[in-house]
Structure formats: structure tokens, C-alpha cells
């Protein structure tokens, strides 16, 4: 949640800059400029050094995951042979239901992100399109709430959900639905700023034309505006999805049953105590599989995610 709610307001100029940079548009080759010598080979050399620094832990995860012995003390930086033993061990470990964790993480991130986009889009529509008293104040208030991550109130959140669970067991602690509800509490905030900035770029003339044609506000919102702002909806969905997927604190407090846990909480449990050494291969196998969805999302939606991150949030 915190990754979604970090405190910087949308700055459209930065957005433009970043999309310019991360876009596929090729900058026209400009004539040689004075300054740094005549060749670029040393830039490549240092660039490769930077790549080594960025990639060696990822190489290590791969090596450890495919390491036949599967323990921490035999794990090395370079792959020492290829084996799928760690993966099969991981899938066959009945006390650690990896696929259940995977499913829980997916459900929580997907439903949480969908809910956050819907709640945020509704609020952004009101702030962007409708005129009412307290509109400016409301936006300020949302900005202010992003300064205080919800994890600071975790003690109270825990006690509140324990009380909810006494009355409605399906929504209390140790349930996936309860955790999603807790996440939805932070659905507004930075997201609304990001969304409203985009909503504002849709010409109001379109709304006015629709009103003249007799469309109600609900019709304008659901059938017209939501379609026109689809790119930002996708961006916010991805941002929230990635944020919830990596969230650990609330998930670890909420989900105590091994069958209800998320990937983060489950994998964390594999690195504790005396088993950490022997389970390391299985853990890295799980970490590798668990990282794939988010890494693919990042690579596929690089432009939107990076643009959104630089304007809306910090990891």
C-alpha cells in the first residue's frame, strides 16, 4: 500500500519528460558535441559495469534456483548445472502450498487494484468534471493523506479487523477479503491526483455535447469518460497491482494461516529458523516464479509504470 501512496503529487511536466525518455521514439542523431573526448567506448565499459551490479543478484537467484543441491551453502553466483529439483520439491511440499500463495497474491492484487481503480476513477470524475463546495479542499485533503502511509495505523487496523472478525468472520483477520478491504482504504490519495490530471485533459466540450444530447451524468461517466481515459486507468491498475503484490506488512499481520498467505508472507516463512539453509533452493525457485508476473508487467508497461511512478509514487 505504501508504494502506492507515496507523497508526491502529479507533475505533468515530469510525466512528459519521462515518457519522452522511456518511449520508443528515437532521438535524432545530433551532430558531434564537444566535451567528452571522441569516442563512447568507455561509456559502454562503465555501462557494462553498471549492468553487472544491477544483474548479479538476479543471476544468483537463477543459479540458486537451478542448483541441484538446493542449499544456501552450495549456491554460487554462476549456475552450477541445471536441475529442476528445487521446483518439484517446492510444488510437492504440502506444508508450504506455493500455488495457493500464488493464487492468493494474484487475487488480492487483482481485486484490490480493480477496486482501487474504480473508486479512484469515480472520485477523479467528481473532482475533474463536477463543481461543488469543498472540491479544492478535498483534493488537498487527499494529498495530505498520502503523506501518512496507512501502515502507521497498523495497530489500530489490526484491532479493528479483529473486532470485525468477531461479528463477520468472512471479513476479519486471516481472510483474503479482509485484507483487500484494508487495502481499499488507501485507494484514493495519490491515485486520484494521477487520475484527475488525465481526466482534465479530456475536453469538456465532449461532456457538454453529450448533455445537450440528453445524456445523464452516469451515462457520460460510464459510457464516455471511462473509455476516453482508459490509458490512465491501465496505468493506475498496474501501479496498484505491483504495489499490492509486493506489500508485506499488512499481509503478514493479517494472514496467519498458511493457506491464506500471500507469496511474500509465505516465502518469508521459508527463510526463518534452522531450515533457511536447506530450503534456500526452494525459496529462490519460488522467488523466481513469483517475480515473473511483476517483471513482465514492468517490461511490457515500462513507459506507463515508470511515468506513473515518477509522478505518483516512490518505491
Amino acid at each position: 500500500m505504501s508504494t502506492v501512496n507515496a507523497p508526491v503529487p502529479a507533475d505533468p511536466r515530469m510525466d512528459a519528460r519521462v515518457s519522452e525518455e522511456t518511449g520508443t521514439t528515437t532521438t535524432p542523431a545530433s551532430p558531434k558535441r564537444g566535451g567528452f573526448g571522441g569516442s563512447v567506448w568507455w561509456r559502454h565499459a562503465l555501462g557494462i559495469l553498471a549492468l553487472m551490479w544491477a544483474l548479479f543478484p538476479i543471476l544468483f537467484i537463477y543459479s540458486a534456483a537451478t542448483n541441484p543441491s538446493g542449499t544456501l551453502n552450495t549456491a554460487s553466483l554462476w549456475p552450477s548445472g541445471f536441475s529442476t529439483k528445487n521446483f518439484t520439491d517446492l510444488f510437492n511440499d504440502s506444508s508450504r502450498p506455493f500455488w495457493t500463495w500464488y493464487k492468493n497474491s494474484m487475487i488480492i492484487s487483482f481485486v484490490g487494484a480493480l477496486g482501487a481503480v474504480f473508486l479512484g476513477a469515480c472520485a477523479a470524475f467528481a473532482f475533474s468534471r463536477l463543481r461543488f463546495k469543498g472540491r479544492r479542499g478535498g483534493m488537498m485533503f487527499l494529498l495530505l493523506t498520502t503523506f501518512f502511509p496507512a501502515l502507521l495505523a497498523i495497530v489500530a487496523t489490526y484491532i479493528i479487523f479483529a473486532a470485525i472478525g468477531d461479528v463477520l468472520p468472512a471479513l476479519g483477520l486471516n481472510t483474503v477479503t479482509g485484507l483487500i478491504l484494508a487495502y481499499l482504504g488507501g485507494a484514493l490519495g495519490a491515485n486520484v491526483w494521477l487520475l484527475k490530471g488525465y481526466f482534465d485533459t479530456v475536453p469538456r466540450e465532449l461532456d457538454e455535447a453529450a448533455i445537450v444530447d440528453g445524456a445523464s451524468h452516469a451515462r457520460i461517466f460510464f459510457t464516455m469518460t471511462l473509455r476516453l481515459v482508459m490509458p490512465i486507468l491501465v496505468t493506475v491498475f498496474m501501479l496498484v497491482f505491483v504495489g499490492l503484490y509486493g506489500e508485506f506488512m499488512l499481509a503478514s499481520v493479517f494472514l496467519t494461516d498458511v493457506d491464506n498467505q500471500t507469496l511474500g508472507v509465505g516465502l518469508y516463512g521459508m527463510t526463518l529458523g534452522n531450515d533457511a539453509n536447506t530450503l534456500f533452493g526452494r525459496f529462490t525457485a519460488g522467488a523466481l516464479l513469483g517475480s515473473i508476473p511483476v517483471m513482465l508487467l514492468y517490461l511490457a508497461f515500462q513507459r506507463q509504470l515508470v511515468g506513473g511512478l515518477t509522478t505518483g509514487s516512490v518505491k
Binding site: P9, A54, L144, I154, V167, M249
Partner: protein, 514 residues
């Protein structure tokens, strides 16, 4: 104007929501929570007023998000503040009246030659066998059946109740009888159960299928507000002190059951007056600030250097570099922290093995702090790289050309032209990064858990942030202290507020709301 189908959808949704609220309200009413029933009713009426009428169009769009925000973000914040003035925590979970009832029921001793009850361990229907509150389904020797809870004993109507030949209940409407295995797994909870009866005695389980009714040795004198335990000779008298029942003759002896009460600002004054907590808190605070500043500085410097490195129009393959350099940032945070934890292992970790050193990274205060900073550098530099690249692109070429014409060398151009422009552009993001790292719970908790622990107070770790410290107070260990943890949280709130004032003031967005 509205199409009939849309109108139908709208009313179906309104009715469904109201029905949901009504159902929740009935559950709340069953639990006896009047206040919550009233609130649920108000929410229901509010929803009806907003969506069933044509007025207040903006609210139609704001209510869903606001409802969640108020319930699960604002209310917890206010509740944290109110918790921070209580002693709520281990040994202080219930009201004073409940503590008296529980102590009396726990003191029950079996009277010789009294008949035993047949007992089944059960939970309310729909609950989780592992966590739900246990109830006892009891059969008296005369065949009458009862439900025993920690709140008291009530008759169980015979309709729908199924018993074995010896009278043990196997099925009762509204309850789920646990299997022997499930009940055995809860034996610790079971041994703590004592059902108070009207005559001052209580019913306690013996094993998994029998219970006895006995007499309490402890009695409560409401007028004098004292508990007397007649089980000892001479009888021991307990009087309330610091929200616990303390032996009048021997102050070190008290009942474990205390009660929750308002203690004003005692939690806060404890942070500043208790010398071990004060010095621990101070060292946590200093490290917290240092960690946030160093994290921003190191990630920004590395990210900026790499951005400068690639800021050459002649360089080919920038897109590939960028896609690969972003990967550390794309890994889920928990994976990063846990894998680095493995790599920092003193005996087996590849960092020590590759560099052929034997640094105890996670076992010494300095090593743990260095490990945290290195991990955060790896995790955070791609973000700064991307941000700086974007900012560098926006610096116009002619400014650089002008500097070159004026005779500035490359270093001078960087220092006097590029850096100031860059800092203006990324300044707010650096502040945001600081604010985020100030409460970077996941990294610290997964990497070191705040440890290593040594020194005067073992609850204070040498790489703790305030947030991990508060978390440990509330959720780790055998004696959670929610009130004190809430007080620490409130202090973090205040610190964040103080630190974000400059950031908030600088925000251009404030003027841009139109």
C-alpha cells in the same frame, strides 16, 4: 432521460447494498454492539439519500471511495491516537468487571463427590476451528443441555440437539462441534476457559469430554473493591493497582488478568523518562534519519552518475541498458530483501565467499546497517536513474552550448549548469523518497528484523526504524503492548508531519487545482 435498463441496474445495486448493510446490522445487533448498529443505520440512510434522489451528484461519485477511506484509513488513525492513551495490551485486554469474573471463574476448585458434566468442545457456526472462541456444550447428569461461554451459562434448547449414548452432544444448531483432533489442538485455549455460574462458582473442563462444576475460592467485595482468595491460609487480599489486582501483603504478586484503562499520557512520558527506552528511542531515531538520508543520497548519486553516463546522443543501445537496469526495481520488494539476506549470510553467503572475507553482516550493528544500505542502494538506484534521465533530457542543449562557448570545461558545465537544473527538477522526488524510506518497514524487517539485539533493552534493535520498533512492540513476542506501540506510531505521525511541511509548501500542485 435515463434508460429503463440503467434505472433497473441502479435500483438493484441500491437494494443489494442496503440489504448487505441490513444483514451486517443484524449480525452487529446479535453481538450486542449498539453503537455499530446505529452507525450502520446512518450509513444506509446516507446511501439511500445520495443515490435515490437526484440531488448531490458529486457525492454519488465520492461516497464509495470516501466510505472505504473513512472506515479503513481515517478511523484507524484516530483509533491509534485514542489507543495511545491506554494500557491496552497483554494482560490488559478486558474491562475491570471482566477481569473480576474471569479471576473468580479461574479459581474454581472441584468439590469432591459432585457429579461431572459431559462436555463437547464447539465453536459458533461458520467460525474458524483454529481461531474462533471456544464454547462448551454441556450435558448435566439429568440430561438437560447447556451452552457454556466465558460470559456465562445458558440453557441449550433440546430441539435439534443430538447426543451419544453417554450424553455427549454431537450436534447442536448454531454450533460446530470440533473433532477430537481439532479440540486437542486448542487444548491451551481450553484450559483457560472457565464458565462462570450464577452462584459464584464456575465450570471448568477436565480433558476433552468432561467438565466439573465447582466453588470459587476467590470472592469479590464490590464495596471495598477487593478480591479475597480463601484458598490460601491465611486468605490473601488483592487490591487494584496499576490496572492489576495486586496482593496487599506482597506487591510482587498479582493476578495475570488486568484490565484496560485510560492512562493519559503515561505512554508518551515513558518514552522520554524511562532511561533505557529514552536512550534506545534516541538511537533508533538517529539511525532512522541517517538511514533515510543516506539511502536517498547513495541511490541518487549512483542513479545520476549512470544517467549522465548514458546521456550521450551518440551512445547506441540505450533502450537495452535501460530495460536491464530497471530489473532490480521490478523485482517484488520482499524477494529483493530476502535474497540479499541470503547473500549476506556470514558462513554461506556469496558476498563473503566471492570477496573471500568473513564479515558478520547481519550479526553486528555496523554490518547490519551497511547491509541495509547496500541492499537499498541496489533496490533504489534504478528509480533515480530513470528520474535523472528524464530530467537531463529536459535541459536544453543551448544552455550547455552557451557554457561551452563561454569556455567552461565538461566538469564545470556539470557542476554549475547541469546539477542545479537537475536538482530543481528532481528535488520534490528526493523529498518523497526520503519520506518513503523514513518508514521503509519491509526492507528492514525482512533483512534484519531490526536486529542484532544487544544492550540494555532487548526490545530495541540496532538497525530498527521507529516503525519496525512499534511493530515489534505490538506484534512480536509474548507480551504485546498495543497502547505503547500506538504512542510510538503517533510520534512517527508527528515527525512525518513536521518533515513534510516544507515538501507540502513547495508543491506546485497546490496552485494547480482549478
Amino acid at each position: 432521460m435515463t434508460k429503463p435498463i440503467a434505472l433497473a441496474i441502479k435500483w438493484v445495486l441500491i437494494v443489494a447494498t442496503l440489504a448487505g448493510i441490513l444483514w451486517i446490522a443484524t449480525r452487529l445487533a446479535q453481538a450486542g454492539n449498539t453503537m455499530a448498529v446505529v452507525i450502520a443505520g446512518l450509513v444506509g440512510m446516507g446511501i439511500l439519500a445520495v443515490y435515490a434522489t437526484r440531488r448531490s451528484v458529486p457525492l454519488k461519485y465520492l461516497v464509495p471511495g470516501l466510505l472505504f477511506m473513512i472506515l479503513f484509513q481515517l478511523w484507524p488513525v484516530l483509533y491509534t491516537a485514542s489507543l495511545s492513551t491506554t494500557n491496552y495490551g497483554d494482560g490488559h485486554l478486558y474491562s475491570k468487571q471482566e477481569s473480576v469474573t474471569d479471576i473468580i471463574a479461574q479459581s474454581v476448585r472441584e468439590v469432591p463427590d459432585t457429579p461431572r458434566y459431559k462436555m463437547s468442545v464447539a465453536i459458533a457456526e461458520g467460525g474458524d476451528p483454529v481461531t474462533a472462541d471456544l464454547v462448551l456444550l454441556l450435558t448435566k447428569p439429568d440430561g438437560s443441555t447447556y451452552v457454556g461461554e466465558t460470559t456465562g451459562l445458558k440453557p441449550l434448547p433440546p430441539a435439534g440437539v443430538e447426543k451419544t449414548s453417554i450424553g455427549k452432544i454431537t450436534k447442536a444448531p448454531g454450533y460446530t462441534v470440533l473433532t477430537a483432533k481439532q479440540a486437542n489442538a486448542r487444548s491451551k485455549d481450553l484450559s483457560a476457559i472457565a464458565v462462570p455460574t450464577s452462584d459464584g462458582g464456575g465450570i471448568k473442563p477436565v480433558g476433552l469430554s468432561e467438565a466439573f462444576e465447582g466453588k470459587a475460592t476467590v470472592t469479590y467485595d464490590a464495596a471495598a473493591d477487593k478480591l479475597t482468595d480463601a484458598g490460601t491460609t491465611p486468605p490473601t487480599v488483592y487490591a487494584p493497582k496499576d490496572a492489576k489486582w495486586v496482593n496487599v501483603a506482597d506487591a510482587t504478586q498479582s493476578f495475570p488478568q488486568g484490565w484496560k484503562e485510560n492512562i493519559g499520557l503515561a505512554n508518551y512520558s515513558r518514552i522520554f523518562t524511562d532511561s533505557t527506552i529514552r536512550s534506545g528511542f534516541l538511537s533508533i531515531f538517529i539511525w532512522n534519519i541517517a538511514f533515510a538520508i543516506l539511502s536517498v543520497l547513495t541511490t541518487f548519486l549512483l542513479g545520476m552518475l549512470i544517467a549522465l553516463l548514458f546521456n550521450d546522443p551518440r551512445l547506441r543501445g540505450k533502450a537495452i541498458y535501460r530495460s536491464l537496469l530497471i530489473l532490480p526495481y521490478a523485482l517484488p520488494g520482499f524477494v529483493t530483501a530476502l535474497v540479499w539476506k541470503g547473500m549476506f549470510n556470514q558462513d554461506y553467503g556469496i558476498i563473503n565467499q566471492t570477496l573471500n572475507i568473513s564479515v558478520d553482516w547481519l550479526g553486528t550493528p555496523a554490518g547490519a546497517k551497511a547491509a541495509i544500505l547496500i541492499t537499498n542502494l541496489w533496490l533504489g538506484f534504478p528509480y533515480m536513474f530513470i528520474v535523472c534521465t528524464g530530467a537531463l533530457q529536459s535541459i536544453p542543449q543551448d544552455v550547455r552550448e552557451a557554457a561551452t562557448i563561454d569556455g567552461a570545461n565538461a566538469f564545470r558545465t556539470l557542476r554549475s549548469i547541469i546539477m542545479p537544473l537537475l536538482l530543481v527538477a528532481v528535488g520534490p522526488l528526493l523529498l518523497a523518497s526520503f519520506a518513503f524510506n523514513f518508514n521503509n518497514f519491509g526492507l528492514i524487517y525482512l533483512l534484519t528484523k531490526g536486529g542484532p539485539f544487544n544492550g540494555a533493552d532487548t526490545s530495541i534493535g540496532s538497525s530498527d526504524l521507529l516503525i519496525t520498533y512499534a511493530f515489534r512492540l505490538a506484534f512480536s513476542g509474548s507480551a504485546p503492548n498495543y497502547g505503547f506501540a500506538a504512542a510510538v506510531s503517533v510520534i512517527i505521525f508527528l515527525l512525518v508531519a513536521l518533515m513534510s511541511i516544507p515538501g507540502f509548501r513547495r508543491t506546485k500542485a497546490l496552485e494547480e487545482v482549478n
